[in-house]
């Protein structure tokens, strides 16, 4: 049995760099058609670099530094969200399942890292107790800017079924600023991925 022949999209070799790239302030998200930035990527490096330099230079001169660099930065950031690899409680199992074969969260560029220095999003996947509260804050402070927090599940959102307990923090937003809340006890892996996509939307609209 022969392996099926792969019909991969080849880079457009014939198209010369136009010199004035349509690099708008709004870059489309992954999944949308006609991404100008992705087309640049398929060029050979020796053609790409001068073209990109020229295009960016003229755009910066025209619109200002912040207005041009920010969208590029956001585009790169939102498609490579590295969450902190840690498991607090039940939601951590669904967090792990999302990286399993069926859901494969890595296709969204989400790769868990064990060191907080390499992370830009902290997924609080479980109940936060007062005993771990200061350690959670330490981990959050160790993460480099820009950073985001996703409260995954009811416990991280508001204490969940343990909200009356003497040892439980009723919601992780008492400790660190939370950007996205995911409901569920525990949320299914789809819900977790949806939360990550919601965060990508937030990052897309980020201005400063």
């Amino acid at each position: 049995m022969t392996a099926p022949t792969a019909q991969l999209a080849r880079p457009k070799e014939s198209a010369p760099p136009s010199g004035s790239l349509e690099l708008g302030t709004e870059l489309p998200m992954v999944g949308e058609a006609a991404v100008p930035f992705l087309e640049i990527e398929t060029l050979r490096a020796k053609e790409f670099i001068p073209a990109a330099k020229e295009a960016l230079g003229s755009l910066i001169a025209e619109q200002g530094h912040a207005k041009v660099i920010r969208p590029v930065f956001n585009w790169a950031g939102r498609n490579s969200l590295f969450p902190l690899h840690w498991g607090l409680a039940c939601c951590a199992i669904e967090f792990a399942a999302a990286f399993g074969a069926r859901w494969d969260a890595e296709r969204f560029g989400v790769v868990p890292r064990s060191s907080p220095r390499q992370c830009d999003v902290m997924i609080v996947n479980g109940t936060v107790t007062w005993k771990v509260a200061h350690k959670l804050i330490t981990l959050y402070e160790q993460m480099p800017e820009p950073k985001w927090v996703i409260a995954m599940g009811n416990c991280a959102t508001g204490g969940g079924p343990f909200r009356t307990a003497y040892s439980v923090v009723p919601g992780v937003d008492k400790l660190v600023p939370v950007d996205v809340y995911i409901a569920g006890c525990p949320p299914r892996p789809e819900a977790m991925l949806d939360g990550i996509l919601e965060l990508e939307k937030l990052i897309r609209e980020r201005k400063e």
Binding site: L84, A101, S114, T129, T164, V168, P186
Partner: protein, 381 residues
């Protein structure tokens, strides 16, 4: 050489949860360890005192989140003892089915995490893939993937959906074939043996003295399995063997868990055949509707709270995937349990960490602690 304490945790890829292993190191050699737990202490025993009997089941699922149904079963047996109730036979078979599926699911979760610890990356995907098949089955009759609230005091919540048993047999066939693959990947690999043989040895006498139970104890060659020694539910009517190994090391624990999964498949085939031929009620008749019902009848919300149970103490003990779990439920005649106390097998297994870690190297900690199969939810409760 100067010695120093190193914290491995609470956020560390080795821990698989939220706990801290303080290690006293002399170079690479482990001189002493001091496990520090409690980072996930949620006060389940205290909250239970404020809850109706059926409401505690919700907490049980979250107590051990990889074996929720087994913990429900544990609590249900104790509270049925305390309330003097007798569930019907079909409910008992359904509970055994839940237990054994949960055992496979928990061991697959352990397999996924443990094999990744020793450096083999692909088995994580295999373990999670096959575990999802079992969770799909759970979802078809409980409605949830992890937190089920399926067992009830006096029976189970609902019967199986049509076509369930046929689908189950297909899943069992699939799993049986996959277990062969798993063994090829691990036991057939020299790297696995070099990494795991003669590591974390804990002999049977030490296991007994330090309260270690479950696969760790059986890997030391001691034949103790509550399903055989003190059969609960309908385990005395089922045909299975106790998984044993004699090496008392990490490889032994792997062998025992793999064999337990095969025996669980064997039990499940018998249970599924029985369920096919014995339809019947799944909730005991003497159980009042308000106790079996997940909510109070409309217009009778106060009715639920006015009931008083007869006084009593319930004690139960089940063979959980990690070891021997126990519940002690004191009922003083109110609508809430007076005191609930749980014994977690992993709690005891971690407390003996000094016995199986001292003398090894720091690089041996991930495989050894991986073979213990730590579930922090039940350690801290």
């Amino acid at each position: 050489m100067s010695e120093m304490w190193v914290n491995m945790g609470p956020q560390h890829p080795m821990t698989h949860g939220l706990w801290n292993l303080r290690v006293l190191l002399d170079g690479e050699l482990i001189r002493d360890v001091d496990p520090e737990v409690g980072y996930l202490h949620r006060g389940i025993e205290k909250i239970s005192e404020d809850r109706h009997y059926n409401e505690v089941i919700t907490l049980m699922d979250r107590c051990c989140y990889v074996a929720g149904l087994t913990w429900e079963h544990l609590y249900i047996i104790a509270s049925e003892d305390a309330l003097h109730l007798e569930p019907p036979e079909r409910a008992l078979y359904l509970r055994v089915m839940c237990d054994e599926f949960q055992r496979i699911a928990s061991h697959l979760m352990w397999y996924a995490a443990f094999v990744q610890d020793i450096g083999l990356m692909t088995p994580f995907l295999y373990g999670m893939r096959d575990r999802d098949l079992i969770l799909d089955l759970f979802q078809s009759f409980t409605g949830a993937r992890m937190t089920y609230e399926y067992l009830r005091v006096g029976g189970v919540r609902n019967d199986l959906p049509p076509g369930f048993t046929d689908h189950t047999r297909k899943v069992l066939d699939w799993l049986t074939a996959r277990f062969v693959d798993y063994d090829k990947l691990c036991l057939g690999s020299d790297i696995f043996h070099k990494r795991c043989d003669n590591l974390g040895v804990l002999k049977a006498a030490d296991c007994v003295a330090h309260g270690v139970t479950g696969p760790m104890l059986r890997s030391a060659g001691l034949r103790r399995d509550l399903r055989k020694d003190r059969p609960y539910a309908v385990y005395n009517q089922l045909d299975f063997e106790v998984a044993l190994a004699d090496s008392a090391d990490v490889t032994g624990r792997y062998v025992v868990r793999m064999e337990e999964m095969r025996q669980a498949v064997r039990i499940l085939r018998q249970v599924v055949d029985w369920l096919d031929h014995h339809p019947g009620p799944v909730m005991a008749e003497q159980v009042p509707r308000w106790l079996g019902a997940p909510y109070a009848p409309v217009g009778k919300e106060g009715y639920l709270l006015k009931r008083n149970y007869p006084k009593g103490v319930g004690f139960s003990s089940v063979e959980e995937p990690h070891g021997e779990a126990q519940a002690y439920v004191v009922n003083e005649g109110g609508e809430h349990p007076y005191r609930v106390k749980f014994r977690s097998p992993v709690f005891a297994n971690i407390s003996a960490a000094r016995q199986y870690l001292v003398g090894y190297r720091i690089a041996d900690i991930p495989p050894i602690m991986g073979s213990v199969d730590v579930c922090v939810g039940e350690v801290d409760r």
